[in-house]
């Protein structure tokens, strides 16, 4: 009988040295991953500070970096910011949840059924290439200047970008895996549960990321244009008062929040993949 080849780690003569070298490389990579962005950020902050200060000791339009940091702290400490954040965020969460709840099943289903795909994909293509913002007046006309109008706009922004990657994911599940599942008497439910769904997980998360990015865009755009509430209102008020530092601070906080949400999605995906590995 052919033995199943012993692994290199068991047989290597110079293995401690090899391992040490590998660990050193990993350590350098990890450190660089933290130090490099921080360094770049510090350089930018320094240039910013010097540039703004050089302009007649702190121009009205361009706050210095220290002004900006001060504004971030001030904004974070204000009740108004948290209130505005809740106003914006509640619409975002609901709108994105609707986009996800509709988009994932739709994408999965469309990807597996050619006739439905033919029906839906035309609309999807239109939705993806159309600047979604043109629908905002329509939504406001129909729903009025309400919370639900914002929810609808956010959902409309996010939905196509959840559906399209998800549909690609379920459409490209290898046919051999489906055949294999059926050959062991797996039902069509089992094919969905055991093959189509897990195989589509990376595509689904791709859709969640893209959908969230567009939902966030929708949230900001409608608050800056048709419905001045929440974070958008905060920015507009600061802008009206020529409080540039606050405008910068709130913008920064929105970006930071977007990045944090993406990181959370990544964590969720990693956790899910880990779970899938562990089951049997």
């Amino acid at each position: 009988m052919l033995t199943a080849a012993g692994s290199a780690i068991e047989t290597g003569v110079a293995q401690p040295a090899l391992l040490a070298k590998w660990r050193r490389r990993r350590r350098v990579e990890r450190t660089a991953a933290v130090v490099l962005p921080l360094g770049v950020g510090a350089v930018c902050a320094l240039l910013w500070q010097m540039g703004a200060a050089a302009r007649t000791g702190g121009s009205v339009l361009l706050p210095t970096f220290t002004d900006f940091v001060g504004a971030v702290v001030r904004v974070l400490a204000s009740v108004r910011f948290w209130h505005a954040l809740w106003t914006s965020e509640s619409a975002l969460l609901l709108g994105f949840a609707i986009a996800v709840a509709a988009g994932i099943p739709l994408g999965l289903y469309v990807g597996r059924h050619r006739t439905v795909d033919g029906l839906v994909s035309g609309y999807l293509d239109i939705a993806v290439v159309t600047p979604t913002a043109v629908f905002m007046p329509l939504v406001i006309v129909v729903l009025g200047p309400t919370f639900w109008a914002r929810v609808a706009v956010i959902a409309i922004f996010g939905l196509p970008f959840v559906v399209v990657p998800t549909r690609t994911g379920s459409a490209t599940v290898p046919g051999a895996l489906v055949s294999m599942t059926r050959s062991y008497c797996g039902s069509s439910g089992a094919v969905w549960r055991e093959v189509v769904l897990p195989a589509s997980v990376p595509a689904i998360f791709n859709g969640l990321r893209q959908g969230l990015a567009h939902a966030l865009t929708g949230m900001v755009i409608i608050e800056l244009t048709f419905l001045a509430v929440g974070i958008g209102r905060l920015i507009q008020d600061a802008q009206a008062k020529f409080d540039a530092a606050s405008v910068f601070a709130v913008t920064f906080l929105i970006v930071a929040q977007g990045v944090a949400m993406m990181a959370l999605l990544q964590r969720a995906q990693d956790g899910l993949s880990g779970q899938w590995r562990a089951r049997s």
Binding site: A176, M180, Y184, G186, A190, E194, V195, R279, S280
Partner: protein, 257 residues
């Protein structure tokens, strides 16, 4: 007599509709395929690619509806996949996110075997194919040969009466392929499953089988049946024997016309 027959295929015909540049045409793939496989017999089907070998195997597996003819396994008409049959696929068909153990246990899971029982049986099957040390490895961490061992272990773990193998070693290199052939025979000698083995390699078919069916023609059918009466257990030295080489030449002649 009929109790000794594990697989009976008679008058099998299958056509596909193919669309080229908007025009649909019917392509007959199998025309009147008839053969029997006795219980515990190892039968290979050789033929050029495109002659309908995979279509035939998928029909016997119950994965493909046929246009005409009947298929019986253990005396029962095949209408879909069944527990008495297990398929080994050419490209392994392993779940890329699942460990070797989970992949082997997958067939048992689909058949409703409880978790503890299926893990125990999956471990036993992994051991049988020499992969006991790789239960936790993911498919991408395994070589091609090891992946197909997982595929074979999955098929064996459900303890089928009939093993259906579609060019299982077709994508392996020559060295791995030969050792896998020997290993398959070793496993087969142990529990004597009925095997339907598809290959495009004449030597592989002769080395492994009790009987070799040669497929050819359009639409495909069985054009020749040969019985390599080589003593078992088979050895590599038999490959240079007179019986082996003359049969090989005969198959090549059949395939040439």
């Amino acid at each position: 007599m009929s109790t000794d027959v594990a697989v009976r295929v008679s008058g099998l015909a299958k056509s596909f509709v193919r669309e080229t540049r908007g025009r649909a045409s019917v392509v007959p793939v199998l025309g009147d395929v008839t053969f029997e496989i006795a219980r515990a017999e190892f039968v290979s089907i050789v033929g050029p690619s495109g002659c309908g070998k995979t279509s035939l195997l998928r029909s016997v597996a119950g994965l493909l509806d046929v246009d005409a003819g009947t298929i019986e396994v253990d005396g029962k008409a095949v209408t879909g996949p069944g527990r008495e049959r297990a398929v080994v696929f050419q490209d392994f068909a392993l779940l890329p996110w699942a460990s070797s153990l989970d992949n082997v246990a997958f067939g048992l899971k689909l058949q409703g075997v409880g978790r503890a029982e299926r893990r125990r049986r999956a471990r036993a099957a992994l051991e049988m194919v020499g992969l006991d040390g790789f239960a936790d490895a993911l498919p991408h961490e395994l070589s091609g040969g090891m992946r197909q061992r997982v595929g074979i272990a999955r098929a064996l773990s459900v303890d089928p009466d009939v093993l259906l193998m579609d060019e299982p070693f077709g994508s392996l290199d020559e060295i791995t392929r030969r050792s896998m052939q020997e290993e398959l025979l070793r496993i087969w000698e142990r529990d004597k499953k009925t095997v339907l083995f598809i290959t495009h390699s004449v030597e592989e078919a002769l080395f492994l089988s009790d009987r070799v069916l040669v497929m050819g023609g359009k639409p495909g059918r069985v054009v020749e049946t040969l019985t390599p009466e080589l003593p078992r257990p088979r050895t590599r030295s038999q490959e240079s024997s007179e019986a082996f080489t003359s049969m090989r030449d005969k198959i090549w002649e059949t395939l040439a016309c």
